[in-house]
Amino acid sequence: MKKLSVILLTTIFCLSAFAQQKSLDEITSFRIKNSGSFMDKNNDVDGYYFYYEVDKLKKGKREYAIKMLDNNLNDIATKSYIDDKNTILAQSKFNNQALMFAMINIKEKFYKLVTFDKSGNQGKDIKIDVSKKDVRWLSMMMKSGNFNLLFPVDDNGFLFNYTKNNKKMGYGLKYVSTNGGESWDYNSPEDANQLMFLNPIEANEKVVVAIESSKKSALSNTVNMKIVVLDINTGKKLFEKDYNRDDNPRLITNAFLTEEKNLVLLGEYFKKGKNIVKDKSEGLFAQVVDMSGNLISDVKADWENTINKLMPADSNGKKKKSTYVYFHDVIRTQNGSYYAIGEKYRKTVSLKGTLLTGRIGSGMTQLTITDAVFFEFDKSFNLKEIHKIEKGKSRAPNLADFGSPQLNAHALKTFGAFDYEYTQIDKDRDRFYAMFIDYERLKGEKNKLAFKAVMYNDGELSQDKIYLEQSKGRVSFRVLPAKLGHVMIVEYNKKEKTLDIHLEKLNI
C-alpha cells in the first residue's frame, strides 16, 4: 500500500528525514509540473512518471526531475533533466527497449524527444523546430483524443506524430529507431491545399499503419480518410487506400496486422456521398488487404438486415428507431472473432434547458446515453450476437441543436461525455477489458457511481464493479488505468485526510 499525504502527492517528495527545518524544507521542495503514465497501444500501463521543477539555473534554464515508478508503483528512478524554463513534458511511452519523452516548448518553438535506455542512460536529444501555430494545432489534436503523439513500436522504435505548418496545416511523422535501424521522416506535401492530419494506429517490425484524414478548412465537416502503410525500415510508402466521401466513405476505428501478414481494417461504412462525421452509417465492416494493398475480403454487417434484428431492446423493453450506437473500439480476439464496443445514444429534449429558456429549439437538446453494447462477430465477420450491458442513463447537452445526433456524438466524445473509458487488450491470454463509468439507479437505494469493467475471457463476457464512494461519501475512489487486467485505485478518506494508492486485479 502506498500511503501518501495529499501534500506529498501534489507538491513534494521526501528527501531527508532531517529536513525538518522549515526554510531548508521550503528550498528543497520539488514543484510538480505534471504527471502521467507510460501506456502502450493496448492501453497496458508500463509505469508512471512525475515531472518536477527543481532549480532555477543561468540563461533561462531549469533543472527538472523526472521521477519514474514501475507498473507495480515501485519507485524505480529519479533522473535529472536540464532544459529551458518553458519546456513542458507532453507525453511519454516505453517500447521494451527505451523510454521516450516528448517535450514541447511553445515560447522557444521546438519539440524535443528525450530517450532513456534500459540502464537509465539519457540518449542524444532530437530537436524539431516548429511554429507557434503548429503547437496550437497539436494541442487541439491531442485534446480530440484521436491523436497518438508518441506511438511505441515494441522492440523497434518510436513514432513521433506532430503538426507541421505548410501551405495549410499538415503533418510530420518521425520514426526514431531504438534497435540500431534507420530513423526517418514522412511528411505531408508542403504544397497541399487541404488540412492534413495523420494518426499511426498500428505498427510492427515491418510496417506502420496510419490513418490520414484531410479536409478543406478548419470549419468543414467533410473529412476524407485514407489508410497509409509505410515500410518501417525506410519510411517509404508501400500503399494507400482511399475512403473518400465520393466513392467509398468509411470511418476506420481500428486496424490489425495478422500473422498471415495481412491488414484488417474495422469500422463503419456509409453510402456514397455521405458524410462520415454527421450521417448515419450503413453498418459495420471488416476489410482485409494484403501488404500490396490488394483487397482480400470486405465483409459488411448492415443495420437494417443484420444488426437491428439482433439488437436487444432498451432497458424499458422498447426498441426506438431513433436510438443509435456510438462505437468506441473494435477488438479482434486471438481466435479471430471480433467485438465492436459501443454505447447506445439518442437525441432528446433537455427538460432542464427548456425550462430555463422557456422554448424548444435553441441549444436545448441533449444526447441521452444508455446501455453499452458489445457486437460479437465470428471469424468471417458474421454478426453472432449483440450483448447488452445495462448501464444508468447519462445526459450531455448537445453542442448544436441543428446538427445530426452523429455529429453531436463525435463532438461530445472529445469532451468525455460518454461513459466509456478505455479498453485494454491482453494478447497473451486472449482477453480484453472494456471500462465504463456507470451511474447506477437502484430502487429503494441511493444512486451509486461505479467503475464497471466488462471482460472477455475464454469466449465469455463477465463484469466486475468498483463503487466510487463508501461510508456515506467519507471515502471516495478514483479508478485509473494500470498494467493489464489491473486498475489503480486512489482512495481518499475525507475525514482522516489520507490518500491510499493501490493496484488491484480486476476480478475474473
Partner: protein, 451 residues
C-alpha cells in the same frame, strides 16, 4: 546464586501450563488501558520537565509528539500484552537488575511490538520496546539479555535526549543558519545547494548516532557481564543480527510446490513477472544524498570487533541459559502469525506458516487450518479490491526475495483461481481441517463459493 534461577523457574512453570499451539487471541490492548495511558503520560511529562537549555521547547515538542504516537500505536494494535511473554521479559530483567543494583528502574516499562523485525528500542522516558522478531532471531536468554542491557545502557546514558538535542542544535546552529541565508541569497541552484547542506547535516547526525550505539554496546556489555548470563553470548547476539541484515526472511518458500494440488495444479504464470522500464539492480536517483547510504547502526562486524578488543573477549563458550527461550520462540512465532493475519499482512503470515511448518515448529493441524484461513482472507480481499492495500507489490530492489516471491504469486492470482485453489487446499488437507470447527467452517466456505 540460587535466587537468580527463581524467576526463570517461575516463568517456566507458568509457561508450561499456558503454552500450546492453540494460542488465545492476541491481546492488543492492556487489561487496564487507562492506567497505562496515565503511566505513559506521567513518565513523559516527568521527562519533558527536566529538559532545559537552548532549543528546549523544540525538544520538548518532539518528545511530546512521541508520547502521542505511542498512544496511537497502542490503539492501532502495534503492541501485544501477553502474560507469558511479559513474565519471560520480567524474568530476564529481574536478573539484570539484581546484578546491577545501581539501575533505578522505577519508571521502566517494556512493551512488546508485534513486528517480525529483530529489534529493540529505548524511548528515553522509561519506555522500551522489544520486537517479537527478536525472539525468532536470537536463540538464548543470554542473547536476549544482552540486547536488553544494550537498551538499558541507552537509557542510562540518556541517548534519546542526547540524539534529539544533537539533531535540533545541529539544524539550528549559527553555522547552519548562515548557510541557509547564503542559499536563499543565491539566484540559481538553490535546491541543489540546500540538498548539499542537508547531506552534511545528516552525515554529522548519523556519525553521532553511531557513536552512541557503540557507547551503548560498551556499557550494555558491562551491565551484561555482571549477570548470570554467558557474556560471550553478546557476540553471538550481534552476529545473529548481522546474519539478518540483508534478508530477514530467508527460508526458501517453494510456492510452486506448496500450492500445487492434484485437483488444481500450480500454474507457472502465477510467478510470471512483467517487463520493467529499467534493468538496473539498484534504484536510480540522481538527487540521492551520500547520507542515504549510511546506516544508523554501525556495521555489526565493527561492533563485534570493538567489543572483543575493548573487553578482551576471546572465548566462544556456547553454554548458557537456553531453556526458557526455546519455549518462548514458539509462542512468539505464533503471536507473530496471529498479528500478521490480524493486520492482514497475509504475505508475511504465509511465509511464517511455511517456515515454521517446514522446521517442525508447528503441527500439521494448526498449519493447515491457519493457511486455509489465510486463503479465505486473500479471497475476500481480492473480491473487495483491497489486496493491494495490505500486501505490497513485488519490488525488484527489495532484499526480501522470499517475500517477493509470495507477493508476486498473490498479486498474480485471480479471484476465480483463488477460489479453486482454496477448495483444492481444503480437499488435500481434509482430515486436519475437519478436526476443528473453524477448519470445517472454512472448508464449507470454499465449497459454497465453488458451487
Amino acid at each position: 546464586m540460587l535466587k537468580n534461577y527463581v524467576a526463570p523457574i517461575l516463568f517456566l512453570l507458568c509457561f508450561c501450563f499456558s503454552h500450546s499451539q492453540k494460542t488465545s487471541d492476541n491481546q492488543y490492548l492492556p487489561k487496564d488501558i487507562e492506567a497505562l495511558e496515565d503511566y505513559l503520560e506521567q513518565i513523559n511529562s516527568d521527562y519533558i520537565k527536566r529538559i532545559d537549555g537552548s532549543h528546549a521547547s523544540k525538544i520538548r515538542k518532539i518528545f511530546k509528539n512521541r508520547d502521542e504516537k505511542v498512544l496511537e500505536s497502542i490503539n492501532d494494535s502495534v503492541y501485544i500484552f501477553n502474560d507469558d511473554i511479559n513474565i519471560y521479559i520480567d524474568s530476564i530483567l529481574s536478573n539484570i537488575y539484581k546484578a546491577n543494583p545501581q539501575i533505578d528502574n522505577t519508571n521502566y516499562k517494556f512493551f512488546v511490538n508485534t513486528s517480525f523485525i529483530p529489534n529493540a528500542s529505548c524511548y528515553g522516558d522509561g519506555m522500551f520496546e522489544i520486537y517479537l522478531g527478536l525472539f525468532s532471531t536470537l536463540s538464548s536468554d543470554d542473547e536476549v539479555a544482552f540486547v536488553i542491557c544494550h537498551e538499558i545502557a541507552h537509557k542510562l546514558l540518556d541517548h534519546p535526549l542526547d540524539n534529539v538535542t544533537n539533531v535540533i542544535s545541529t539544524i539550528n546552529s549559527k553555522e547552519t543558519k548562515k548557510k541557509v541565508r547564503e542559499i536563499k541569497r543565491q539566484k540559481y541552484g538553490q535546491t541543489r545547494a540546500a540538498l548539499s547542506v542537508i547531506d552534511e547535516l545528516s552525515i554529522d547526525i548519523l556519525d553521532h548516532s553511531k557513536e552512541t550505539e557503540a557507547q551503548a554496546d560498551s556499557l550494555g556489555f558491562v551491565l551484561f557481564s555482571k549477570t548470570i548470563y554467558n557474556k560471550y553470548k553478546a557476540l553471538s547476539a550481534l552476529s545473529k543480527l548481522q546474519r539478518d541484515d540483508d534478508m530477514l526472511l530467508s527460508h526458501n518458500i517453494r510456492v510452486d510446490s506448496i500450492f500445487n494440488f492434484e485437483t488444481y495444479p500450480f500454474k507457472p504464470f502465477w510467478l510470471k513477472e512483467t517487463v520493467s522500464i529499467f534493468d538496473t539492480d539498484e534504484k536510480i536517483n540522481e538527487f540521492s544524498l551520500d547520507s542515504d547510504t549510511l546506516k544508523t547502526h554501525p556495521e555489526i562486524e565493527f561492533r563485534i570487533e570493538k567489543l572483543k578488543s575493548d573487553f578482551s573477549i576471546i572465548s566462544t563458550d556456547s553454554s548458557g541459559q537456553e531453556n526458557n527461550m526455546r519455549l518462548l520462540i514458539n509462542l512468539a512465532n505464533l503471536k507473530m502469525i496471529e498479528s500478521a493475519i490480524d493486520k492482514k499482512n497475509l504475505d508475511i503470515a504465509i511465509y511464517q506458516l511455511v517456515e515454521l511448518f517446514h522446521n517442525k515448529r508447528i503441527g500439521s493441524e494448526y498449519y493447515h487450518i491457519t493457511m486455509a484461513s489465510v486463503l479465505k482472507q486473500i479471497y475476500n480481499a481480492k473480491k473487495n479490491h483491497e489486496l493491494g492495500k495490505y500486501i505490497p507489490p513485488k519490488s525488484k530492489f527489495s532484499d526480501e526475495k522470499q517475500l517477493n516471491k509470495i507477493r508476486l504469486f498473490l498479486h498474480n492470482l485471480e479471484l476465480g483461481e483463488t477460489k479453486k485453489m482454496g477448495l483444492a487446499f481444503c480437499k488435500a488437507n481434509k482430515d486436519d481441517l475437519m478436526a476443528e470447527d473453524n477448519g470445517t467452517e472454512i472448508f464449507k466456505f470454499f465449497k459454497s463459493i465453488n458451487q
